[in-house]
Symmetry: C2
Subunit: 209 residues, 2 copies
Amino acid sequence: MDNLEKPRGGRPRAFDPDRALDAAMHLFWEHGYEATSLTMLREAMGLTPPQIYNAFTDKETLFRKALERYHQTEIGFALEALSAPVPTGEAIRRLLLGAAEAYSRPDKPGGCLFVSGALATSPQAQTIADELKTYRKASEAAIAERLADGKAAGDLPEELSAEGLAKYIAGVMNGMSIQARDGASVEELRAFAETALAALPVEGQKPRA
Amino acid sequence: MDNLEKPRGGRPRAFDPDRALDAAMHLFWEHGYEATSLTMLREAMGLTPPQIYNAFTDKETLFRKALERYHQTEIGFALEALSAPVPTGEAIRRLLLGAAEAYSRPDKPGGCLFVSGALATSPQAQTIADELKTYRKASEAAIAERLADGKAAGDLPEELSAEGLAKYIAGVMNGMSIQARDGASVEELRAFAETALAALPVEGQKPRA
DNA sequence: AATTATCCATAGCGATCGATACGAAACCTA
DNA sequence: TAGGTTTCGTATCGATCGCTATGGATAATT
């Protein structure tokens, strides 16, 4: 962490890098990497260009740090759901319902930054698109691992493909992200999640109905 | 259609507008609206800027015509599936399996133009993003209508929400679009579709297995 | 052949993009 | 207090963005 190891001397920063990064993250979340201009970042972060470049190197590095911050502050529900000591079906249920909440917060941009941050880009930003794909693939892999554990625990049928089902669950979350961006409410996303859960090969502890 | 009513006189076009529009469509499909520059369009369409602007007015109009062309030439499977004289479950099945094919053609960009064309944009391109959202909402509405017909025909339980299930199916297709963009094969997308179909409240005519 | 209309190619428009040069200001160490 | 280091604010940089002015070329119409 750069902002922890103050080397020595020099004029102190006149702003809080974490607050600035937070503003940048929300802007990237809303408009994506390429469509977010330095002018927009300047206004949202309340900084001058040299302040931004001195603290975050360049736009690409700023975006990557925004990704890290998003991962740490906005989608903890995922790791929580996948690591909770509950049956596999319940874990996936918490994952999808958590996404329903996280993708439709009123004070946040809709959907997931990992999806809307850079889906279609210019050739110059291909590395950014690849980075986001890596994040999405990592999520999918984490789900697959949880499902494999579920198979080992007897929660899921032995003949099931953990990778295949993980692709479905990750894809459902991506679809929820698009629906959220189209204005779906948290209730609609929850209903979406419940419907998606019906496809799981587990004896669903159905919602109280 | 402008290209049908030749008014009279004048020097004839030295290019085929439909071929040029096709090249533009594929470029927008791959890179999205904003990230596709006029330079890229020039090279792909084999035209000079004045030729493009004379034939298609401006970049935004060109994109809108590309959307129409995409709708007409690339996703006929959807209307076909929804209007086929088959039970509702089979219609949705054809819809999702058709999407699996259409989103992973080797000679085409992955996914759906209506999703990747403009998901996160600059404020200047908000109208374009809204236009794409309108297309997505229209697809969802078409599915909801087919589901309502299915309820009337007794294919689906009466207490089911056609709109809610349509949101799920449309969202699943959006999710498949993202997965296709991440390199999912047609087989993986078909498996995705089959899993998603298991959530439908119909006696599934399961795949021959 | 003369007129009119449309398209072609060359060149370049103003605006915005991401990123910086510069020198003054503000802190620490010695 | 002097030296060293970092950030500050101001003013831009060259490149690319979408787009167009201009004038010659090629057709149908009269």
